[in-house]
Amino acid sequence: MSSTPSAERAPTPTDGGGSPRAYFTGRAFTELCRIATFFGVAVLAVLLLSVAWQSRHRIGWEFIANHDSILDPGKAGVLGGMMGSMWLMLLTVIFAVPIGVGAAIYLEEYAGNTWVTRLIRTNLANLAGVPSIVYGILGLTVFVRMFGIFSRGGPAAGVEAIHVLGVRIPLPFEDRVISGALTLSLLILPIIIVASQEALRAVPPSIRHASLALGATRWETIRYQVLPVSLPGICTGVILALSRAIGETAPLVMVGAATFYLRTPDGPFSVYTAIPMQIYNWATQPQAEYREAAAAAILVLLGGLLFLNGMAIFIRNHYQKKLQP
């Protein structure tokens, strides 16, 4: 039953060279791959639709404007979580961006090919693969409990706070917003460093050479020539890192973000909650209203992520053309 290639049409690679068995194997494999690919697409659609369907009663202005509630599950809202997440993101940016961009500048502009540089690079690659809960444990020990120095029996027991420039900073940081922000900063630091390195690498060397030729020092070149040009790429990287940080729950659970927090945080040293914490809490409650609230909070979170990613894409597209000579 094998056919010879006809004169009108040359055999194509997918034909199987005329053998029906090879043809069907080829087609079956192609369709299997196609199914595998669209499985991912289908799952995303099912996920979004099911979450939207299960939250249809709750999503609305009252949900966003209300605080969480223990007494009445039907009135629980996401305002405390939204404010807490915004505080967290603000503080995380303040800590992570200078250090991350600084490290990227060092690795790209100053570092030689020494063992220290190789150690730092290998280290960054490994840190990116560490589970987020291990960062939570690090944050718990370093920021929340501060190695037990300030607890009963520790060397600095009894110290409650220090005063810096008129601001009272309670020690240890315990379960306040600042612990969560510092832990999340450590988590997204590798992402920011890698993205900033890419952005700095994309700057044409001719700009650096011209600046150095005109007598600028290395730092002046970076500060006035390289950084402004790479700023859109760095911003995009920061926004993508933030969109990772916004959804992280495990580190926040470890450093003590509250599950039922009924107010808005009033500063970096207040107790707090975050949207993912509220989702985690509500999803495991027995009452159906809490689970609907979890679905609605998921929509709020996904909406925030969509906004962040849209902003990143806009920045990338808008500033891309300026780099063309």
Binding site: G17, V51, L189, A295
Partner: protein, 329 residues
């Protein structure tokens, strides 16, 4: 002082005892200071790793403070690795149920995520048109960007009641509880599909066209070329992506905490609730256990296991990439 030619000497010599080259300027000092500050920023990442290792070791293996002993100084290590009961309230610390939970969930995730990921990578790199690829790839990126709590909720509120229960309880008659390892494994598998797909696709596309064309020239079908030429050529990248994906599945916390529950259970029944290592860490940190007690330090012991496992897989994956990568001219 050249007298040999008629060219006048235009060099200016400095006054005796001085030099025109100022060794110290404010500008130069500032440069050095800035370089030092930037170096400190870069070294912070190393400090983070050292911090993680120190914290895990000092709380679980050996502690220098006599009144604050590490976990393995109070509880027995052999009991930890061989015991089959994990009840932290009764001081029973055999890690095998947690290990079993982690392996069940990660195993199911690997069964679902790895084949789907590699098949979709093959489709996107070999069979799909550029337009289709540019449409599908962002969608898979979106799948990768969804937070894990959302997947946990999806498992609990959709996968279990509307997919697993009808299929396995209704049709096949198994007993499916509301939190089980299967729903957690399915959802974590979905989570790692984009990772395997994009890393494998990079590896597949790095294989030069000449290899494929040589295959076609010798009369192979597209199926032959894809499976017998391209995939083996990209195997190092594919295996590295598998290892990274499994490492991610092992370290996954929130989705399994919500979907698989927090009950330690040494079982092979995937429809029962299990607790993974990550789930236990989350559970005990929010339980009311005294923060400095040896019982509390069990979380550091479990975290040490977890960290070693994921670190080992990441290092092996990088080694595989380096050692077996085919470099084409």
């Amino acid at each position: 002082m050249s007298q040999a030619t008629d060219i006048p000497d235009r060099t200016i010599t400095p006054p005796p005892g001085q030099s025109f080259v100022r060794r110290w300027t404010l500008r130069r000092a500032k440069e050095h200071l800035i370089q030092a500050v930037l170096f400190l920023c870069a070294i912070l990442s190393v400090a983070t790793t050292i911090g993680i290792i120190l914290v895990l070791l000092s709380e679980s293996v050996y502690s220098f403070a006599p009144d604050n002993p590490a976990f393995f100084q109070v509880f027995s290590f052999t009991e930890f690795v061989t015991g089959t009961e994990w009840v932290y309230k009764d001081d029973k610390f055999g890690v095998l149920p947690l290990l079993c939970g982690t392996i069940l969930v990660a195993g199911i995730a690997a069964l679902i995520g790895l084949p789907t990921g590699i098949l979709s990578a093959v489709f996107l790199s070999e069979y799909a048109s550029p337009r289709l690829r540019s449409t599908v790839k962002p969608i898979l990126e979106i799948l990768a960007g969804i937070p894990t709590v959302v997947y946990g909720y999806f498992a609990l509120a959709f996968v279990n009641p509307y997919v697993l229960r009808p299929l396995f309880e209704g049709v096949l008659g198994f007993d499916v509880s509301s939190q089980n390892a299967a729903s957690a494994g399915i959802v974590v598998g979905i989570m790692i599909i984009p990772m395997v797909s994009s890393l494998s696709e990079d590896a597949l596309r790095a294989v030069p066209r000449s290899l494929r064309e040589a295959g076609y020239a010798l009369g192979s079908t597209k199926f032959d070329v894809s499976t017998k030429v391209v995939v083996p050529a990209a195997l190092s990248g594919i295996i590295a992506s598998f290892l990274l994906a499994v490492s991610r599945a092992i370290g996954e916390t929130m989705a399994v905490a919500i979907a698989a529950g927090l009950t330690p259970n040494l079982t092979a029944d995937v429809f029962e609730p299990v607790q993974t290592m990550t789930g236990y860490i989350v559970q005990i940190s929010s339980a009311d256990v005294d923060a400095g007690s040896a019982k509390y330090k069990s979380l550091y012991a479990v975290a040490l296991c977890l960290f070693c496992a994921t670190l080992a897989m990441n290092i092996v994956s990088q080694w595989v990439m380096r050692r077996f990568r085919e470099v084409y001219e």
